[in-house]
């Protein structure tokens, strides 16, 4: 059979597939008539077969290039990304993340770096009055003192705006913490340490001032969620960096891919915690609720976090069964 004849025979099918693909603009399969999808798949398979046989058909090079492009386009329309499924993400966050974090030394390292810096700088700021001004600059310390010199109730309040701002700012820091794990974890360590130092200094310094009561009343409620969220983000970042360092016999690239996949749900959990903390910070911390309520919220959230880390993802039925054995 001559090439022209064969082309004349097949070209109609290719053209039809091309038309279907162009009409398929909406990028969504749902809502397309089912006969059309079936017809498209049929045409796609026949175009695939033509491409496979292109060599033995002696098709000229332009025709083969045409077929490559046509098949590639059809392939991308028929095989689609699965998008977001809320259930799988929720299962990851509540099931896989706590299990992974329990067995993950990076969580411990992140917590040690962050809390270590926090406690050391807090102690320094408490014992040496100038420490805060040296580390953070005099303006910032003055600003902090000024902020808490008046009672919380008398402040001009905009809870929703502040909650939004805290989401933007704090969760942004968390994501940076994760992303800088790509610098072999060094960027993450730096961010954890610098944030720990800053917060610790502010806490320690405020303790030496007469405004401690108001300050602690403001920071208590959301502290558990926020300070845990940044440690989670740090753990995710360190996991990414550790994947680059210890490749476990894989190529460094495959190792990075594996750890990135593992760390992504953790940063998701961290962002969730940051959002929770931001809403507490905006609506509860700045309110004039009695200190007891705020402390109660802090204790409850801390207990929730402990329960999440200790119990999340455990299957109790199976655990009992093994104990009976």
């Amino acid at each position: 059979m001559r090439v022209v004849d064969r082309l004349a025979q097949r070209e109609a099918a290719w053209r039809e597939l091309d038309q279907h693909l162009t009409a398929f603009r909406s990028e969504r399969v749902a809502g397309t008539a089912s006969e059309r999808v079936v017809r498209m798949a049929e045409l796609y398979r026949s175009a695939c077969a033509d491409l496979m046989l292109a060599e033995s058909y002696d098709l000229p090079r332009e025709t083969v290039a045409y077929l490559h492009d046509l098949v590639a386009r059809a392939h991308n329309r028929l095989y689609r990304s699965r998008g977001f499924r809320f259930r799988t993400w929720a299962a990851e966050v509540f099931h896989a993340v706590p299990r992974r974090l329990r067995s993950d030394p990076t969580l411990l390292i992140a917590a040690l770096v962050f809390w270590g810096c926090f406690l050391v700088s807090g102690a320094m700021a408490m014992s040496r009055p100038d420490f805060g001004k040296d580390l953070l600059g005099a303006e910032m310390i003055d600003q902090m003192e000024e902020m808490y010199s008046s009672p919380l109730e008398s402040r001009d309040r905009n809870d929703a705006m502040m909650a939004g701002f805290y989401v933007f700012h704090n969760a942004g820091i968390g994501i940076q913490c994760f992303v800088w794990g790509l610098s072999f974890g060094l960027g993450t360590l730096y961010l954890l340490a610098s944030n720990g130092l800053q917060l610790g200094t502010v806490f320690g310094h405020m303790y030496t001032t007469p405004h401690w009561g108001r300050f602690s009343s403001f920071v208590t409620a959301h502290s558990a969620f926020e300070l845990t969220a940044i440690v989670f983000a740090g753990a995710a970042g360190l996991r990414l960096g550790w994947g680059l360092i210890d490749h476990q016999g894989q190529t460094r690239l495959a190792s990075l891919q594996r750890e990135a996949k593992n760390a992504l749900p953790t940063i998701g959990a961290s962002v969730c915690l940051f959002v929770l903390a931001a809403f507490l910070e905006g609506f509860v911390s700045a309110s004039n609720l009695p200190y007891g309520v705020k402390a109660g919220i802090a204790i409850t959230s801390a207990l929730l976090l402990v329960a999440y880390l200790a119990l999340g993802g455990r299957t109790f039925g199976r655990a009992n069964a093994t104990r009976e054995d």
Partner: protein, 261 residues
């Protein structure tokens, strides 16, 4: 003699088998191997500029809307920050997960993100590669990590692509599959002297089709010089007189094989 022709053509095929090219070879579930052209840094920079404009438009629109709503209550300013956060970090991830690997900029330029196995990306891959943009496109280094990484990798992947196992491809809309008809008056006179089905394997056929595609770009003397190598064995074999140029012989062969003249 035929052997010498086909051996010559095989050599050209061997050199073009794995071309030094910016495309990637994929095998589909249908067991078909096809080529994807990869998107280079310039394509991707353009699409990023468009996306950047879209993000900026979103941010500005969000700000204006929240200021407008703020007459109803100041809560809307908080909404603005939340919108900023979502758009800034998750615009690309959401778009690519929902629209099968495309953001607005990629749609405009006909690019698409696929995983390195050629299958569509998952939501997690989309989010991951876009979160890591915060490192790739980090301001103090002015996108250097992304650019250096793209230049160094075979598939033009930036760090986010490497971590998520994705690549960006160009999706071309093909123009047509017509077979060209070479115009050479002398070829009409060569045709009756050729056998009904000349002994031509796939390599020779492809060499002929390549020659016909490119012959318009060369001067007459140059086409002779190039075509003579392929035409000489045929000239000897079918006793073609010298008056037929190499170009005429090759065009005639092409028409016999492809068009059946």
């Amino acid at each position: 003699m035929t052997e010498s022709v086909s051996r010559m053509a095989t050599a050209t095929l061997a050199s073009s088998q794995s071309p030094l090219d910016t495309s990637v070879r994929l095998v589909t579930p249908e067991r078909i191997t096809f080529l994807y052209p990869l998107a280079g840094p310039f394509h991707r920079a353009c699409s990023y500029l468009i996306d950047f404009a879209v993000i900026a438009a979103f941010l500005i629109a969000g700000s204006i809307a929240s200021v407008a709503f703020s007459v109803m209550g100041e809560w809307s300013l908080g909404l603005m920050f939340v919108i900023w956060f979502i758009v800034y970090f998750f615009y690309g991830g959401f778009c690519e997960a929902l629209f099968n690997g495309r953001t607005v900029g990629k749609l405009a330029l006909g690019l698409r993100v696929v995983s390195t196995e050629g299958v569509p990306i998952t939501g997690a891959q989309a989010v991951l590669r876009n979160l890591l943009w915060a490192f790739d496109g980090v301001w103090p280094f002015a996108y250097l990590p992304a650019i250096v990484c793209m230049v160094l990798t075979k598939r033009f992947q930036r760090l986010g692509d490497l971590a998520a196992g994705t690549m960006v491809i160009v999706e071309r809309r093909p123009i047509g599959a017509k077979v060209v008809r070479p115009d050479n008056k002398l070829a009409d006179r060569v045709l009756p002297l050729l056998p009904a089905s000349p002994p031509a394997g796939p390599e020779l056929s492809r060499a002929l089709s390549d020659y016909v595609k490119c012959r318009k770009r060369f001067a007459a003397g140059r086409t002779e010089e190039l075509g003579e190598h392929l035409a000489r064995p045929f000239r000897k074999r079918y006793d073609l007189p010298r008056e037929f140029t190499a170009d005429a012989i090759l065009c005639a062969l092409y028409r016999r094989i492809y068009l059946g003249d």
